[in-house]
Symmetry: C2
Subunit: 145 residues, 2 copies
DNA sequence: ATAACTGCAAATGATTTGCACAAGG
DNA sequence: CCTTGTGCAAATCATTTGCAGTTAT
């Protein structure tokens, strides 16, 4: 996602306000690459501004998605949607053991972006998620045996 | 997914029963490549056996997922998880206009399965979904302009 | 000033669960 | 028989919504 200043400008263009709540949520998100759930964000927000409501967190997340600043990642957590704050095009690696979700830059993997054989279809974007064991869990499993 | 006979055998192994409800749900699913939601399946079931409950449909879908006969596809429908009945390894194409979800055999596209640059990770499987316009919607859009 | 925002409480909606009765093997 | 399955109603839980009071611009 972009810097707070950039997002502040975007909000202004849209006649939306930069409230203290929104500023805090944006600040928290921009230093969070862990793909938090709405409730994870809420917890971090409340630790600083205890009176903020879940509604405001949900509202702000929804707006940031609409602005294209963050993306939803579905189907990886029992406890709701996770949010992706990484700007560049990338894929995901999800560890089925510890639940960590890693951003994999396209250049790091060949699983990206090809679309031969798709005649007739207009492909706007491709999302790829790889499932398996992250290095830490893989090593831990090897040690156990 | 496998044939009714095969699944019946698997159920037997697991000491599970082949009830009329399950038989009907399996029959409906095996001829459905539309990636229906639980409620879509329920509607089709009720049209034949009006007394079947949603609970039974949900239970059976969950069991079939556990058996590896069908797969959940998340994040494509506002109205819940969709179910994938296609056995072979494949990718998905989702039409952002009409909501159709097409199975794309791996051999039809190069967006599949590569995993160079993933040293340290153990990749068990890769899921790729392409988003865009299906041929029908693409043509309809072209005609409008 | 005033349109946008916040926070509360209630609503929503997909899915799950508890439980008494039914039925497949 | 007796274990597993069914169907109902109630519970769950993430997310949304209605609304009255608040605030950024």
């Amino acid at each position: 996602m972009h810097s707070l200043e950039h997002i502040a400008g975007e909000l202004r263009k849209r006649k939306q306000k930069l409230t203290p709540q929104r500023r805090l949520i944006i600040e928290i998100l921009s230093s969070d690459r862990s793909h938090p759930t709405a409730d994870d964000v809420y917890s971090r927000v409340v630790a600083v501004m205890p009176e903020v409501s879940r509604t405001t967190v949900y509202n702000t997340l929804r707006e940031l998605v609409a602005m294209g600043e963050i993306r939803e990642v579905q189907g990886l957590s029992e406890s709701g949607v996770r949010y992706d704050t990484y700007g560049a095009e990338h894929q995901h690696f999800f560890c089925v053991q510890c639940g960590v979700l890693e951003d994999i830059p396209c250049s790091s993997s060949s699983a990206c972006c090809g679309q031969e054989g798709m005649e007739g279809f207009t492909v706007l974007r491709t999302e790829t998620t790889m499932y398996g064991y992250c290095p830490q869990c893989g090593e831990a499993n090897a040690r156990e045996r």
